[in-house]
Symmetry: C2
Subunit: 467 residues, 2 copies
DNA sequence: AAATTTGTCTATTTACATTTC
DNA sequence: GGAAATGTAAATAGACAAATT
């Protein structure tokens, strides 16, 4: 029996337990999960200390601890020794990256899709290849490391993105997301911790969760990881690596300073961290920045992808791996059956060698700027972050709006966007912002329609009346 | 202190524990893992009962149990209540599906690769498509359910494989292996159990392990699952589904009888099991058999793939899903980023519509028969299972050979094959057999070289002298 | 058919590590 | 900077369930 009376005691969560035949800790976990999903306990809530709950329910602390652990694995909670247990801010957001919905006409400004305005350079290579005598061979099995000249072509384009490397470190994958999955499963193992920005790419969150890898938010200074933050995470959390997006960080659009790049390289070498440098958006920059990998080539696994800058249909990603991890990555890629299509690899490699790929990229940039001008026209008066070459925007909402509610509201009006909650790692309250994908709508007219809808929402004085 | 003296007591494993600062159960697990890898404890060994070990080491039973669980998760052990704990027969086989090794000339007869003799029909479609005005659109993002006419083409070819279905149930994936991954992660969840043949496709084992799904071997009769076996597994293990390969079961080459197909369909409906029917080799058959899915369309998720019968480079798989699972599968596919290349889908769909795909398949069949004739010529006197259209053979070795040793021996002589251990589920001692892939060598001459090497090995009277 | 063997699961005790105040 | 607050992990006891004899 509980010794104290809790009747007049404020507890953020008061589970009503009906002891069934299921295990106690599972019943508690289930109850908590339901209560979070139902909105009875809200994101950000600090739960009562485990000992207090244990006392209240008249069970052992460890039983509560085990129940909480269950929920934490599902991403519903974040617990910190000393501070307590908090309901995650992304507990109620769906972790799926949902596809475009065909049932009802939605304007897609949530998922980041590249600009698709043209692909004549691809078609040109396709025609050329299709007339050659040994095309048939391009429909056999691929290998994660392709052919020598293809690796050399990869070296060439990666140099243009800001990293000078050598062909013996190149591997191919089916796009950036698959590269990330291969790295996390081939080089890291379940239980490892990786430091990330406090707001980061949701695909990283999903993959890490799937593989049992924990993400640790690194504290920032000037919108990028701070040295103290990284060192702290090394010492306190024992992180094994870092995941960074130096060019146009997702979702904040932040471009990492050169000082920070050097700092990360130095710390990585000193603490022997494995840095995953995701250069997925590097080619949006007109002038490339020097990659972190350039400063610490033996500690950085570098990912480059053509999906966002050339054509998603090529499904082509590049990994530059320090030699010591190459074998593990090779096996992971092979084992996951994500070897690349020899045909697609051939097309891309030839476009690089003939330099026609750069023409295509330039056209994409021009189109992106055109779309961004439209964003500026409609939402220019608001606090919108991201330069004219970036294919997404980080929109700090006026105070009267709550990001999650704004996302839902926009959805009801037919525009899909993502609120900051989707990107959160850790227990901090997110900034009140949403991400807008600029190039994802199928036409520029559709983008304009979307922007008008958002503007109207922003101007409606009393959004809560709409509910 | 242990009460009894164990000095004169035979124990199959006598761990020497040096209590370090690591957790006890982890130390024990590590020790056991090392001893298995070192060959100190052999596959098939029955370990001492947990209580006995606990007594011996003077720790609690649960500590041993936890240590064993660790090893079981790694696939090193199989524990059964009542019978004891056994070292897995595949504990020492590498779980990676290793790629062809370029360093040293190996004859590939382990992985099953399709015949690659020609692909003129693919090239033909490729040329045609490349000349059309809107080719460029084929390099955009794909969707897991493609376009209507492509789904209809899928229906068409699947009908030829033995299952008449409708377009609204079709989804596309990057080949059969990815389809399987999507099904296991989208429809099943960690902890679920699936019944399989006692010897099954290693990719299923790997994927299931990765996703925390347990495979339960179903007892057989006449080389196929028995009704009693399935019912038993339902009742005792609470299996949620079955995984079957009715046409040319991998690795036994068994073609499931029509009675068994009907039986599985009936039991699935009665017990509400989700059957995964993998028809990956169905098109090797000249006359299709009626699929299990035909008998129980609402309980069977059907997988069909072009990788083994048309061209691996197309990387194209089809899933026919009952409507109730379609949404989950759609999401899983999308979320895993394994949407199919619109370009490859276009090529394949046109080949189906124009029926040229059948010509290509016929040529593959002819080439397979030619290769199989060679196998018959060299190894005909032995007990080799599998008909002339099957692209692999199940070779029951003469008694004096041990399959695992034979595999290693062949490897040393330059031929890669897989022993039965690779396919085992559960703790039964495997039959003494190896699988030979017939169409995987790059040329028929190379196949002949491989067969000669194997024949020589088989004829060497005293294989143990070679070591 | 009943008793025994054997593995598994849960709640607990206890010691511990980190953060906060 | 030390005490208190708070979450975590290991080892255990004991009840339980399935398989064997």
């Amino acid at each position: 029996m509980p010794v104290n009376s809790f009747e007049n005691y404020p507890m953020s969560w008061r589970p009503k337990l009906k002891r069934g035949k299921k295990a106690l800790y599972l019943t508690i976990a289930k109850q908590l999960e339901d209560d979070i999903k139902e909105g009875i306990v809200l994101p950000g809530t600090k739960l009562p200390p485990q000992r207090e709950l244990a006392d209240f329910l008249d069970v052992n602390v460890s039983t509560i601890s085990k129940a909480f652990k269950q929920c934490e694995l599902k991403g519903l909670l974040t617990a910190t020794i000393g501070s307590g247990t908090f309901v995650s801010y992304d507990a109620t957001t769906n972790s799926y990256i949902m596809p475009r919905n065909n049932d009802f006409e939605l304007i897609e400004m949530a998922s980041i899709l590249p600009d698709l305005n043209s692909s004549q350079e691809i078609v040109e290579k396709l025609k050329q290849i299709s007339l050659e005598p040994d095309v048939g061979n391009l429909f056999t099995y691929g290998k994660p490391d392709g052919a020598l000249w293809q690796r050399e072509a990869a070296v060439e384009i990666i140099k243009e993105a800001g990293y000078k490397t050598t062909e013996n470190k190149i591997l191919f994958s089916n796009g950036g997301q698959n590269a990330l999955t291969a790295i996390l499963s081939g080089v890291f193992k379940s239980g490892d911790k990786i430091g990330v920005d406090p707001l980061t790419y949701p695909g990283m969150k999903t993959t890490a969760k799937m593989l049992g890898i924990q993400l640790v938010p690194i504290s920032q200074q000037n919108g990028e990881m701070s040295k103290e933050g990284i060192l702290y995470a090394c010492q306190q959390e024992g992180i094994k690596g870092l995941y960074i997006i130096p060019d146009y960080q997702n979702p904040t659009t932040h471009i990492m300073s050169n000082e920070c790049r050097k700092m990360i390289a130095e710390v990585a070498e000193e603490k022997d961290l494995i840095v995953i440098e995701d250069s997925i958006y590097s080619f949006l920059l007109e002038e490339p920045r020097k990659s972190v990998a350039s400063y610490a080539p033996d500690n950085v696994i570098y990912i480059y992808s053509l999906s966002k800058t050339v054509a998603p249909g090529l499904r082509l990603g590049y990994i530059v791996s320090p030699l010591k991890y190459k074998k593990d990555l090779f096996n992971a890629l092979y084992n996951m059956n994500i070897t690349v299509s020899p045909f697609m690899l051939e097309i891309a490699s030839r476009m690089i060698v003939s330099k026609s790929i750069y023409k295509l990229m330039d056209r994409h940039r021009a189109s992106t700027r055109e779309r961004n001008a439209l964003v500026e026209k409609y939402l220019g008066e608001y606090n919108i972050i991201g330069d004219e070459n970036c294919i997404f925007k980080w929109f700090i909402l006026p105070e009267k709006f709550d990001a999650l509610e704004f996302e839902n509201l926009a959805y009801k009006k037919g525009v899909r966007i993502y609120s900051a909650n989707k990107f959160i790692v850790g227990k901090e309250k997110p900034v009140n912002a949403v991400r807008l994908a600029v190039t994802s709508t199928s036409s520029i007219e559709e983008l304009e329609k979307g922007l008008i809808i958002l503007k109207q929402l922003l101007e409606s004085e009393s959004i809560y009346n709409i509910y």
